[in-house]
Symmetry: C3
Subunit: 383 residues, 3 copies
């Protein structure tokens, strides 16, 4: 074609208008990973989360403190200051803040003014990660925290990493919900040519989106062939479930077994990966990853081997999505169109859900009196 | 002066308003050089042309394929993909495109949707360069391709280069139409002090702009003195014609001879340079250059000597115009004024013509029914 | 606090609206330091001052010439050109300008057009610095030049330096008017823990703002303990006056003496620092500094020792204010609030004065007929 038919482009643009994308404002009222727990010590850690500069530290009672990283006196980053017995002392004029963010000392005067301080954010440490709630404090909802038993379960051997993505978290969720790309973007790491063509099933309901693929029989890439011993050509089954768990977490669960053995004789090897994207800005993302397996536990050599192989592949996502971001950023809105195909079903629904969540938040802010009933109605999916 | 008279400034600003400049939108309906032919092989070449990301490659029938460099599925740059038997396979989900830009395979499903694909641009390979038409496909007009016989003529010995200019192509055309600057910007390369003061003639008509200078007698700089043997003080004539050939090409033609010999005994040495600016963005330019001579053909030593000397001089243009761009970018519109003098006649007319071309395109887009009659009227030169 | 009370935030935002800050347009009608005199020679120096690109050079009569750094022909920076007998020759087409900014030669034609040229700025060289007036030429007022006898007085031994601050000059003035920060930002250089808690007095009147602190008894940091010999614990008095002298100059004066000696037996050691911030852009500043002392004159070792120690401390300001600038730039207007305390009194008044000055200039430009009477009324301090 010299160029695609205008009608087809117009239809695809209309569809994209109903989905969240790299310019959709943040969804504030949810839990995001602020840090791995082992990053947070009794010293100050600066990190931008959802566009907000935050300073994190661990108090002597082991609680993770998260405060706005800006002194409310003269805007020095608090992370440039020092910790003194759980209190934070600003690097500029020495204003002192307690773990609640209250200012408790102004060195140049005998008494400290009341009611000045910085915002403190709610945090929850679960397993290896620290979650943060940056939205309306009175809407912080424990039930929205994605369940993650295996992350806290000693039976799963885990390794973790933090990658920096120069792209939108929306597109990272999208990437994870359609693993068709394993055959191409990951052709040299953990993808195989048959992956993209394998049959798939979708699960789509309000706030729940998954894509399931059974790749049987298949040949496993070394990252899993070596530790499972399923090294034969066409020997293995690879049963994959990609699931959007929350705006801050996506989980990929995979089972491997010898597909030539009868079901009762099979050993099933299971892996899980928690992909936890936290927007840094609209166009960059902290990509927290925890990978776990239920086999070869307590085997450091296997852990290291798999970690290296897996994070090489995750790095391919980071590089690919950065290229995608560049192309998106370089394209004028009127020239941008994207066609969707069948495997995009869950991710299209997920992106419509994200847009609905954001629009509901915006609407609740403009009409706070309707917030409760609006919540009951569920998010609108059109605009 | 403490500052220039406000009336003089106002007059110069009014004049500038009628000329194209670094913020004038692109003229789409014309031919630009996309690449040298010897840059395009059976692999993917990414290049931004007129603000549009394009991927180029050479098909097995030697045709140069130029497609929008963005997968219409999920916006991965196609240039990150691979070539497979003349088809382009996207790096992300493996969508496959033929040389027409049509999508012919979606790996995750058995059938490929109809009517999806990417825009393909018309290309023409002539001599050493590949031209591209990025405007309205049905207005692609072979007659607008600047004639360039010498570029395809074996009698001219050529050498070529591609420079990257951090400035507007408008200002590069302007630079070329007034070679007064040879005495200053190129004082240490191919300019001589007498050049700026030599008599000149202008040719100005619709779409045709030239400035001619006879520098007689003069002393040639080494780049030409050495290969012509015209090494004496004041021995040479230097007869120069600078001509705007199209929005994508400017040609400088020069003749040298011994001005002390009678006309019938003279050997005339001729050089030509095709300066082919293609906007990358409004404020940066791919500067394609081909230099040719009709003497000392098949002499690689002379070719190399002249190439080094000439491209050192062209680099002076690139550096000077980048400084000009910085000054223009740093000046608020209300503070910007430029005075023109007599040698600016052709370039002022050329910049008015470029603005007229752009305004006509914009008008044709807003009123497509008037496009044909509008064309007959010629471009308006005021706004 | 989970977050500060909205009412408290709203009040602080209302107060900030009445103060100049990093986005307040420049105050043009005043003297700023353009350069140290020893930076300006018979060659071209490019410098951006108040957002304007300026070229500086010293004429053969020793006068400092300051012109707009943009050729009025085709916008080449004049600083890329050459000096020839006090005239400036443009690097592009050789237009020649005299020290008044008048164009006196156009090489491509026999006669030079009248009335073209570039703006020349008034300069005054006083002691080590060159002042420039970039506002309305007819309002250039010698009486606004901050008095600075000690800078020109041979009895004071001086050393100087130029730092580049990635932040607003407004915040640098603010930083200087409240030296509470010596105990924190400069804890490792010339601050001591007792500094912030020492009693202070404020002086606030129209255009005059100062903060005075007597730190008695105190222990001097090495930078002053060593050259004065006041090395004992709690031996010294440190009497400090920080004073806003003009939009282009702040002066810190300090006296040291042995506080255990009766007044008649004391040797008083005095230092002064002229802090001269000149905006480069709204968000970056040329920070000119001259430090002087009235003791140990003609002792190069002491001069070098003190210079190194002092400029290490001034560099701490530059780094701290750059962090502040980053935090300010990253904070959306509706999220920005700053609380002031007692020691901020002079700086708050100073920032209100700066805003008033800028607003008066803007108002005079819109209503030139009222300019004189408006001046008599003094600047409005609200908006």
């Amino acid at each position: 074609m010299t160029q695609p038919f205008p009608k087809v482009i117009a239809a695809s643009q209309a569809a994209s208008m109903r989905m969240a994308d790299r310019d959709t404002p943040f969804i504030m009222n949810d839990w995001y990973v602020a840090a791995f727990g082992n990053e947070v010590h009794d010293r100050l850690l600066a990190r931008t989360l959802l566009g907000q500069r935050v300073v994190l530290y661990r108090a002597s009672n082991q609680e993770v403190i998260a405060l706005d990283d800006r002194c409310p006196h003269r805007s020095m980053p608090l992370s440039a200051g020092t910790l003194d017995n759980d209190t934070l002392v600003c690097a500029y004029h020495g204003f002192r803040f307690n773990t609640d963010g209250n200012c408790i000392e102004v060195p140049s005067q005998a008494t400290c003014p009341a009611n000045i301080g910085v915002k403190r954010y709610r945090t929850l440490e679960r397993g290896p990660v620290v979650w943060i709630w940056m939205g309306e404090p009175d809407q912080a909802d424990m039930s929205q925290l994605p369940a993650q038993d295996w992350l806290e379960d000693g039976d799963w051997e885990t390794s973790q990493g933090l990658l920096h993505l120069k792209g939108s978290y929306v597109r990272l969720h999208e990437n994870l919900l359609d693993l068709t790309h394993l055959s191409f973007l990951h052709a040299k790491s953990f993808g195989t040519p048959d992956y993209a063509k394998a049959a798939f099933k979708s699960e789509i309901s309000e706030g729940h989106f998954a894509l399931l693929r059974n790749v049987v029989p298949t040949t496993l890439p070394p990252v899993w062939a070596v530790p499972t011993g399923l090294t034969g050509q066409g020997q293995a089954a690879r049963i994959v479930r990609s699931e959007f768990r929350s705006v801050g977490m996506h989980e990929v669960s995979v089972s491997f077994y010898d597909c030539h053995l009868p079901e009762e004789d099979r050993t099933v090897f299971r892996i899980r990966t928690a992909h936890m994207p936290t927007p840094e800005t609209l166009h960059s993302t902290h990509y927290f990853l925890v990978h776990g397996r239920d086999f070869a536990q307590h085997d450091p050599h296997t852990t290291q081997f798999m970690h290296e192989q897996l994070f090489k592949a995750f790095q391919e996502d980071v590089e690919g999505l950065a290229l995608q971001e560049q192309a998106l950023a370089a394209t004028a809105p009127q020239d941008l169109y994207e066609f969707s195909v069948a495997t995009d079903g869950p991710s299209v629904a997920m992106r419509r859900y994200l847009l609905g969540r954001q629009q509901k938040e915006a609407s609740d802010k403009s009409h706070p009196q309707d917030a409760v009933s609006g919540q009951a109605d569920g998010p609108p999916l059109t605009r």
